[in-house]
Structure formats: C-alpha cells, structure tokens
C-alpha cells in the first residue's frame, strides 16, 4: 500500500480545487431542504396556483415526520445517486485518458493504494454531502412538521450511507475498467436503478441484494419497522471489497501503450 497517504492528500486537494467538495454537498443540501418545505407548503402552493375551479376543496394529509425523511431519501435515490455517479465517473477513466494515471503508476505505488485513496475520498465526500443533506432535511422536518424517532433516523441514515458508498464503489470500478467516463456513469446509474427495481419485484427471494439497504432505510422511516437488512449489509460489504480488488486490477490494465 505504498504511497497511500500521499495519494489521499492529492485526492483531497483535487476535490477542494476542482470544487467537487462544494457542488456535491450542495446538490444533497438542496434536495434535503426542499422535501420538508414542499411537504409543508404543498396545499398553499396548490391553492395559489390559481387555475383550479372555484370551490375546489384540497385536502392533503400532512405527512408524518418519518414519511418526509423517507421521501428525502427517495429523492437522494434518483438525483443524488446520479450526482454521485457523475462526481466519480472520471476518477480513474479520466486520469487514464489524459495520462495522469500513468504519471502515478510509473512511480513505486501499488495499484491498490491508488484505488484505495480514491475510495477513502469517496467515503469522505459522500459522508459530507449526505450528512449535510440529510441533516438539513431532519432539521427542517423538526421545525415544520414534527419530531421523528431519532433512533430510526440514525439507523436509516447509516444504511443509506452504505448504499451510497456501494454505488460510488461501483462507479470507481467501472471507471477503472472503461475508457469513457460517461459510459462508467451510465452503466453504474443504470445498474443502480435495475438493482432497486429487481429488489422491489422479488422482495422475498432477493432481499439480500445491496439495494435492500435502500429499501430498508426508507421503510424504517415511513413505517418505523424494516425487514431484515443484515443479509444485504453483509453482501454489500463483501461486494465493496471485491469491487475494489477488481478496480485495482483494472487500473493497471491498458489496451494501447
């Protein structure tokens, strides 16, 4: 793992200077704020839209605090997930393409250290982005809607964080294997959607899929109870380790000299 510390320092400075450390948290923060606000003010928004016939009665039940946070996570599941894919799609493919990966790998650096530095940075950036976004949502839900069960919120946050890190790890791996950053983002995002769909369709048999973490996080918030997620968690952790190993092999692979 020689060179890991220096590479991590390099990733950190890069995230700062290329503003990745600003825009990714900004996306999550925006999504997080919007959900409780729209939940609270939806009736007013509809009423002031003005194109409803006179005398229309609008009755929208105010959602429970847990439901609002569950909806926030659903938002993260689409736009947030896409943002993570986009933020990390070029992390290896881009460096391979412009030659900076060679610049690093001709030095006595182990490929695993190279990939690991990117992964640790991914965990860090995602924790900042998701922490701020979900924390913001929690805060506004407290203010506007009501106080959810803190234990449930923390457990779902942890589960969902692992799911996000899993998707980020897949992005790192596809980025190591493919020449095009866009292809890496597309395949990862598509894969995440398929995983979620498959899990939704075959819940009984495939509850161990990593997307089970996502489903468990949402149901914990909305209903207060969740199906067992231990299987998913174990599968996800093992997958992350495997993906990183594959990524390290892929990082040194090249078609042309």
């Amino acid at each position: 793992m020689s060179g890991f510390g220096i590479l991590l320092h390099k990733e950190w400075r890069e995230a700062l200077r290329t503003a990745k450390l600003i825009w990714l948290p900004a996306v999550f923060l925006l999504l997080g704020f919007l959900q409780p606000l729209t939940a609270k003010f939806m009736p007013d928004i509809l009423a002031s839209a003005g194109n409803l016939p006179e005398g229309t009665l609008i009755q929208i039940p105010v959602p429970t605090p847990g439901e609002v946070l569950g909806q926030t996570i659903s938002q993260f599941g689409t736009v947030g997930l896409l943002a993570v894919c986009l933020a990390f799609m070029g992390t290896i493919a881009g460096e391979k393409r412009n030659g900076t990966a060679d610049w690093i790998l001709v030095k006595p650096v182990s490929p695993l250290a190279y990939v690991a530095s990117k992964w640790v940075m991914l965990c860090l950036i995602v924790s900042i982005a998701f922490g701020l976004g979900f924390g913001g949502s929690w805060y506004y839900t407290n203010l506007l809607i009501g106080v959810p069960n803190s234990g449930d919120v923390l457990i779902s946050a942890l589960l969902y964080y692992i799911w996000l890190v899993f998707i980020g790890t897949v992005t790192i791996m596809t980025s190591a294997l493919l020449r095009s950053p866009a292809a890496a983002a597309f395949i990862t995002f598509g894969g995440a959607i398929v995983l979620q769909l498959v899990h939704g369709l075959f819940d009984n048999k495939l509850s161990w899929l990593p997307s089970g973490l996502d489903a468990a996080a949402i149901s914990k918030l909305t209903t207060g109870s969740s199906p067992s997620w231990a299987g998913s968690a174990i599968v996800t952790v093992i997958s992350i380790a495997t993906l990183l190993t594959v990524a390290a092999k892929g990082a040194v692979l090249r078609k042309k000299g």
Binding site: I6, D102, W103, P108, R254, G257
Partner: protein, 303 residues
C-alpha cells in the same frame, strides 16, 4: 555493469506486432538513443522498460544489485507528459518525490533545486494548467529525476519543442548523463548525435542494430576523397587521369568534380594532391568525406 538486458522482447496489439524479438543491453552512465522512424516500436519499447506494459513474450533481466521493483530506480517521461492542471509546479515536484519515497523535507528541497535547474523557478507556484508546452516538458524532465534514478527513460523528449526548448532540454540531459543512464527515443538523428554515445536502431518493430555512435559512423562507409576543381580543359583532363593513380579503386565524377574511392587513403591522398600541384590544377575542394550517419540511417531503414 549492465542495468538491464532485454532478450527477445515482443509485444503484440491484437494481431499487429508492435515489437518483435528485440534484444539489447542497457549499460551504466551512458546516453542511449532509440532511433527509428514513426511506428518503429520506440514508444512500445520504452513502455515495456518502464513497466507500463507487459511483454507478450521475452524477458527483461534486471541487475540483481538493484531493487526488484524497478520503478524505484527508474524515471520515465512519456511522449505527452500529463500533469494535474490544478497542482502548481512545485506541488507536482513534491508529490512526485514523495510517491518515489522521499521524505517531505527531501522532496521539497529536491523539488526546489530541480525547478531552478529547469528554469522554472519563477513559475514554481503557478498552476501547471497555465504552463506552455516547453515548460511542461522541462517540468516533466525535472520530476522524472526527482528520486535520482539510475535509469531515465524519455520518450521523444525534444520532438515537440522549438529550437530554444530543444537546446535547453539537450543541455539538461548532457549534464545528467554523468550521473545516470539515459535512454531516449527520437526520430531525428541529429538530436541523437548531439547527446548520445550509443544508438539502438529500430524499424518496423525490430532492433536493426546497436552500437557506439562513433563506431557506427566508422562502419557507415569507407572514407573517400571529394575533389572539386575550377573548370578548365586542363582540369578536366586531370580528372580523367586520376583513375590511373596507383591504389585508386573507383572514381565517380561529373564535370569539374569527382569522388575517389580507395582502400589506402593515406598514400592515395598524397599522390592525388601532388599530381594536382604538378599539373597546376586549381583545386576548390579537397577533402576526405564519409557517408554520413544520416544517409546510413535512411538506407538502413529503407532496406
């Protein structure tokens, strides 16, 4: 002592042979040019040496006294050096140094010293994305030697540079070749002649020959006399009679000039000159020439 030895090194891309059965030796403290036209396999050879590619077949034997991870004693500069545009020149040097195992203090000192040697002192704290092509090339050279490598591999280090940048780089190489072995690839013979002691001639993925430049120059062809005279009847008659001088094997010539081939240059040179003086021929040029390496290179590559 040899740093490394390549034996039957081959590399295929799909079905094309980028390099086939290349064998050569890299000695110590010398400058070796990999010379050949575009597509000769120079970049492939350097990538194999640097460990960026694995050979399809063949072996690289390293000197057993050196670390088994050859990246520790090797520096590499690719044809189009790539840097992180958001780093400054100084940060690039420090990052390179630390990745090569220097302590942070050592890396900073070495970085400063090399940037100054590369003429980048003023630009040290500017971002690399703002550097010109020549500055990037010099930065590339500087970071490649940050860990004082034993072997420095350079892929076309001067090809993309203007005459001034070219001279700067060649001067830097000339200073360094006392401390390390430099292997550089080029398709310009003139650049190779300026700094290198040894040539490895490549063409179409094969090593055609390896040797000292001076030896190759000698072997390129036997010397001949090149004579140009002031025009006149007397001179033309004299030219016609050179062939009869003892020791001359062949005379190619046209009007008022000729090339005299011989196996005994020393005696023939005197005889021809004396006869010219005796007959009052007005000489314009009288020199011993050799087929230039350039001609030899073109012939070798086209053969």
């Amino acid at each position: 002592m040899n740093l490394l030895k390549a034996e039957g090194l081959s590399r295929k891309y799909g079905k094309t042979d980028a390099l086939s059965q290349a064998s050569f030796v890299i000695g110590e403290n010398r400058c070796i040019a990999l010379l050949g036209p575009n597509g000769a396999g120079k970049t492939t050879t350097l990538s194999l040496l640097a460990g960026l590619l694995d050979p399809t077949s063949g072996t690289l034997v390293m000197n057993s006294d050196l670390s088994s991870d050859r990246r520790r004693w090797m520096g590499f500069l690719p044809q189009h050096p790539a840097f992180f545009g958001w780093m400054t020149g100084f940060e690039t040097m420090v990052t390179a140094g630390r990745l090569c195992g220097l302590s942070s203090k050592e890396a900073a000192e070495r970085g400063k010293e090399l940037l100054e040697a590369a003429g980048l002192k003023e630009a040290a704290n500017r971002r690399v994305s703002g550097y010109s092509g020549g500055m990037k090339q010099r930065l590339g050279l500087a970071q490649a030697v940050v860990h004082r490598p034993r072997l420095l591999l350079l892929d076309e280090p001067v090809s993309a540079l203007d005459p001034i940048g070219r001279r700067d780089v060649l001067t830097m190489l000339d200073n360094w070749k006392r401390e390390m072995t430099i292997v550089l690839s080029t398709h310009v013979l003139h650049d190779a002649e300026q700094v290198c002691d040894e040539l490895i001639l490549m063409n179409r993925g094969r090593v055609m020959m390896q040797g000292e430049i001076e030896q190759l120059r000698q072997a390129a062809g036997a010397p001949y006399l090149n004579i140009v005279v002031e025009e006149g009847e007397k001179a033309n008659n004299w030219l016609g009679r050179i062939e009869r001088i003892q020791g001359v094997t062949k005379v190619d010539g046209g009007k008022s000039q000729c090339r005299v081939h011989t196996d005994e240059m020393d005696s023939v040179r005197d005889k021809v000159l004396r006869s010219a003086l005796d007959e009052g021929v007005k000489l314009l040029t009288f020199e011993v020439s050799r087929k230039s390496l350039e001609q030899w290179f073109v012939e070798a590559v086209q053969a």
